[in-house]
Chain length 297, copies 2
Amino acid sequence: MEINKELSYRAAEVDRVIYSYLPSDQHGYQKIVMEAMNYSVLAGGKRIRPILMLETYKLFGGSSKAIEPFMAAIEMIHTYSLVHDDLPAMDNDMLRRGKPTTHAKYGEAIGILAGDGLLNYAFETALQALDIEPDNKAVYKSLQVLAKKSGIYGMIGGQVVDIEADKQYGISKNRLDFIYELKTGALIEAAMMIGAYLGGATQDEVDQIEQMAKKIGLAFQIQDDILDVVGDEAKLGKTVGSDAKNQKATYVVFEGLDKAKDDVEKLTEDAIKILIDFPYENIFLEKLIMWLVMRDK
Amino acid sequence: MEINKELSYRAAEVDRVIYSYLPSDQHGYQKIVMEAMNYSVLAGGKRIRPILMLETYKLFGGSSKAIEPFMAAIEMIHTYSLVHDDLPAMDNDMLRRGKPTTHAKYGEAIGILAGDGLLNYAFETALQALDIEPDNKAVYKSLQVLAKKSGIYGMIGGQVVDIEADKQYGISKNRLDFIYELKTGALIEAAMMIGAYLGGATQDEVDQIEQMAKKIGLAFQIQDDILDVVGDEAKLGKTVGSDAKNQKATYVVFEGLDKAKDDVEKLTEDAIKILIDFPYENIFLEKLIMWLVMRDK
C-alpha cells in the first residue's frame, strides 16, 4: 500500500533525527543507563508523534532546524512512558514488539532510572531549541506545551487514572474518556501544537490544531480497541481479543462494535474538515490521518 | 544556635514559595497523584538547594520573581529523586524522616508516577520563568543548567553508579568520587549556578560559583559520612554507623576519619575563599556554608 511505503520512508528520516539527539557518550561510569535509554528508543515504533509534528510544521510553512530537538524530545517522552508502563508494579510486561522490555533486559532499578533519564533528557534536548532560535517566542510556547501535555494534566494524569481503574474502581464511561483523552491524546495534541507554533501559526490556528489532534487521538485509540476485537493476529503482532480476556473496559465494550466504527469515521471526518479549512495544504498529512485511524494494524 | 534559628526562618520563607507552586487542583480523576506529590514535598527537609539558590541570587543583586519557579523546581527534582530512591527496586525504604515513604503510603505504582509527575512538573514550573522575564537570556541558561545537572550527566548519572556499585562491582575510590560529585554535588551546583545566572553574574562568575558549589557538595557529603560514624544518634535521627553495618563504602572508609575531617575543613576554606573574593558580600551565605559542612546533624 502506497501510504505504508511513504510512512516507512518518513519514519526512517525521522529516525535519523532522533538518533542524532540520543546520548552518545559510552565511556562514563553511568554508560549502562545510556545503553538502556538508547535500547528503549531504538526498539522501534511507528514514530507517529514526531511525524505528525513535522507534517503540521510543514503545513504552516516551517523550515528551520528548531523543530528537530522537539521531534526527538517527544519520542523520548513517549518511550519513557512505555518503559515505566512495563515495570512490574505497573503492567508487568516482559515483551514489547517481540523484544525484552527495558526492565526485563537491564533489571528493574535501571528500568526506572532509564525512564527518568529519558524524561529528563527530553527536556535537556528540547531546550536546545532556545539556542537555535533564541528570539522566537514560539519556542517558549512549544516548551510549555510539551511540559504540560506530558505531565499530570496530560499523559501522566491519564496513566494514573488507567492504573487506578485496573486496580480499584472498575470504570465509568466518563473515566474511560478521560483516560483516552489524556493517556493517548495529550502527546498527539502536543506534537501537532508544537509543529503549528514553530511553523508560525497564530494562537487561533493552534487552538484549531489542538481540537483536530484531540479527535485524531480519540479515533486512534478507538481503532486500537476495534482492532483488538476484529484485527488479524499476524498483522497486529499481539493476541487478538487480549483486552476482553483481561476484562479491560474499552470503548467497544461500552458502545458496541458498530457504534465504535461509526464514531471513528465521524471523528476522522471532523478532523479532516478542520485540516482542509486551513488556507494551507499538506496532502501527506491528510493521508496520514486517514491511515492512522483506518489502519488494520 | 543563631544559624539554626536563622535557617529555620529562611526555610519557612522558602516553604511558602514552594507551596505556592505545587499543583492545587484536587478535583480531577488523577487527584491521587497530586496528593502523593504534595505529600512527598511537604514531608519536609532542610530546603538547602532553594536556600542556596536564593542566597547566591542575592549575592549578585537579584531581586525579581523569576527566581521563585526555579526554587520550587529544584526542590521538586530533589524530592522526586528521593521518592524513586526509596522504591523497592532501589533502596526499598519504608520510612523517611519518621514518616512512611511515598510508595509505602500510596503503593508502588503511584510511587513511580508521583516521581515522574514531580520531575515533569519541575520543568512545567521552571518554564513559567519565560513568562516572568521573557527577554532575559539568563532564564535560558538557568533552564539548561537545571536540565543538565538533573540528568544522566548529573544527578541521575550519580544515582545509576551508586545503584550499580551496591549490586555488582564493589567500588573504587574513583567511582565513589564520581557518585559524590554527581549524586550530591550536581543539584547543589545547579542551585547556585541558577542563582548566579538570574542574579546577573557573568559566565566567568558562574564558572567560579560552579567550582565553589562543587567543593560545598563534596564537603557536605563527606560530613554526612563522618556523622554516620561519630554523630549523636538523637541529633541525626538515624542509626549511627548504619553505613558501616550496610558495608557501604564511604569516604571515611577510604581515607580514615582524620583525613576526612581535614578534607572537609580544606574544602570549606577553599569554597569560602572563592566566595569572599567576589566584589559582593552575603554574610548569611558564608555562615550557611560553614554550617552545612560543619553541622552535627
